[in-house]
């Protein structure tokens, strides 16, 4: 895992320690009840809840500064454009990108990956070429490549995992060869929590001249990401998992790569000059942002990044690791419960199954205790096949999660055992 050097300023406000109750007070939804019970929200890996700072920033922006961007000469258009571009710069700093123009705003990480597939992939992949994925990938990093393969006829190779849910680097090395044009890997598994050794994978890819795309949906939330240190060519994440709004995603791309890529969608704001005979396109990132983008959501994402920075990413990571370790220990002690994904490098996700109770039944019973978990295949059918299960229940922890919530999860699992007489 690549950690950026810690900015001492980020430790300033709460350097006396991490006050999770104070953090929880920042999230209005956490005080609500579900089925008469206090909400225990353990589904942040699907989508995180939003702090007041994000909600307020978006509301204030709409009340005071909103207009379309890159179009008008009027006051509000300028204000709006400045705020939108400031959000881009903030995302660039968040990922330690070399410059703001390496940040493309999308709808979500899925669209970011589709953009790379349809633009970079369509131009660079063909018969005889290979790309390498892993068994851990979310459907978002599988299906776009399959769709393109159907047109372009390249080969998809899949790097296997070991029984802990970690990628097998020895096998991965064998798969990456001179025909490999792209390696597309998750930085942290959404289903198991495994953190992949992306830097090593990049090194292997680099040695063969392959480009690397990293799906950072989960990692961007739990780890400090430094795209330059990772040497990733593309890095994708979604705003809504990072305590920001839904509808905004990010694609980081090295500028030289973006510059050589054709547009993804056509429309307004991405063109230089249009005639019916010929159209020329803007430089990146605007070339890839056709039409009015998610302006308010970009402002919300910037507010979320500020919020995280203010809490200190290091303290947040320590806190999440502590809750993860505690919950893992407690769940491990339950007879008949199996945790899937036990890699040494792991983020705040616990996927589990129970002998005699299907994941959906577990989730329904937990929900009645106010405990929200995800049940299902986690958009990772191939991984479920590899694990030999059809579905798992997944508890995912966030910066507002507590050990008391882990206790509530364990208590609710006890209710599953009582109902199913396990």
């Amino acid at each position: 895992m690549t950690l950026a050097s810690v900015d001492p300023v980020h430790r300033s406000r709460r350097n006396s320690g991490y006050d999770v109750e104070r953090v929880r007070a920042d999230f209005p939804i956490l005080s609500r009840k579900v089925h008469g019970k206090p909400l225990v929200y353990l589904d942040s890996a699907a989508s995180a809840q939003k702090p007041r700072a994000v909600i307020d920033a978006m509301t204030r922006f709409m009340e005071e500064d909103y207009a379309n961007i890159h179009r008008g000469v009027h006051f509000l258009s300028q204000r709006s454009t400045d705020a939108f571009e400031a959000a881009r710069a903030k995302v660039a700093r968040f990922l330690n990108a070399a410059k703001a123009d390496e940040i493309v705003f999308t709808r979500n990480a899925t669209e970011s990956i589709n953009l790379v597939a349809q633009s970079w992939g369509r131009k660079n992949l063909g018969p005889g070429d290979e790309i390498v994925l892993t068994e851990l990938e979310h459907h978002a990093n599988i299906v776009p490549w399959q769709m393109l393969r159907a047109e372009k006829g390249f080969e998809i190779r899949v790097a296997p995992i070991d029984d802990t849910g970690q990628i097998r680097l020895d096998e991965t090395a064998k798969l990456i060869g001179p025909r490999t044009k792209l390696v597309a890997v998750s930085h942290m598994s959404n289903a198991l929590g495994t953190i992949l050794p992306v830097r090593e994978i990049v090194r292997m890819a680099r040695a063969q001249g392959a480009v690397v795309l990293v799906d950072g949906c989960q990692a961007a939330v739990h780890k400090q990401v430094d795209v330059q240190s990772l040497d990733a060519d593309f890095y994708a994440f979604s705003g809504h998992k990072l305590y920001g709004p839904s509808g905004i995603g990010v694609l980081y791309g090295k500028y030289a790569l973006l510059e050589a890529m054709p547009p993804y969608q056509g429309g307004g704001d991405m063109i230089d000059r249009v005639t019916f005979a010929r159209t020329t396109f803007k430089e990146p990132p605007h070339r890839f942002e056709a039409g009015t983008p998610a302006i308010v959501e970009a402002i919300g994402l910037a507010a979320a990044i500020d919020y995280l920075a203010d809490l200190s990413p290091v303290l947040v990571a320590d806190h999440e690791d502590e809750v993860l370790a505690y919950a893992t220990e407690r769940l491990s002690a339950i007879d008949g419960l199996t945790i899937h994904g036990t890699a040494a490098e792991k983020g705040a996700i616990i996927s589990f199954t129970m002998a005699g109770a299907h994941a959906h039944d577990i989730a329904t019973i937990l929900d009645q205790q106010g405990v929200a978990v995800r049940a299902g295949h986690h958009c990772a059918h191939p991984l479920m096949d590899r694990l030999g299960v059809t579905a798992t229940a997944r508890a995912s922890f966030a910066l507002y999660s507590t050990k008391a919530e882990a206790d509530a999860l364990v208590e609710a699992v006890g209710q599953v055992k009582r109902i199913f007489k396990l």
Binding site: H35, G36, K37, G356, A357, H358, A359, H360, D361, T364, I365, Q368, A375, G376, H377, H381, M384, T390, A391, Q415, I419, F420, K421
Partner: protein
């Protein structure tokens, strides 16, 4: 809060754990495959229908939660001996009960035991996200019956 024991009644737990008519009978002449894309549950329903359109045998295979397995298991028990028209009526009744259209469900023709069992399965209506778990087997059965005109046994695909 709903009482979970209304959903997970003894009969559901029993059928979920020990499904009846689980397997692929050799004589089956109507079949369909169903899946729930949201959760990955899958089911294959196998029906043996005689020349008069009466269901001689009903069975299923598949993977799913307690609700979907119990629903499939109980359905196969209810189907045996029924005509195609009766089977379709059962499907419509079950669908109406589970989706909160109890007023459209006509249970008057059903024997007491069948009506009771359908009401037990319909407890799922308190849990909207789980309704498809209970109705998957029934949709798949109805699809299998609707394909009776076909000579070949190619499985019909049902997604709910």
């Amino acid at each position: 809060m709903n009482d979970l024991r209304d959903l997970y009644q003894e009969v559901i737990l029993d059928h979920g754990k020990s499904p009846r008519n689980f397997g692929h009978p050799d004589g089956a002449n109507r079949t369909a495959h169903g899946h729930n894309a949201m959760c990955g549950d899958t089911i294959d329903v196998f029906l043996t229908v005689d020349g008069d359109g009466k269901i001689e045998d009903a069975a299923f295979e598949g993977q799913g939660c307690a609700i979907s397995v119990a629903s499939a298991s109980m359905m196969t028990e209810m189907l045996k001996g029924r005509t195609a028209v009766d089977a379709h009526h059962l499907f419509e009744t079950m669908h109406a009960l589970c989706t909160g259209h109890e007023d459209e469900a006509d249970l008057s023709d059903l024997d007491e035991d069948t009506a009771d069992r359908m009401q037990i399965l319909a407890g799922v209506r308190q849990y909207p996200m789980r309704v498809k778990c209970a109705t998957l087997a029934w949709h798949t059965m109805d699809k299998a019956m609707n394909e009776k005109a076909k000579e070949d046994m190619s499985a019909q695909e049902v997604g709910v």
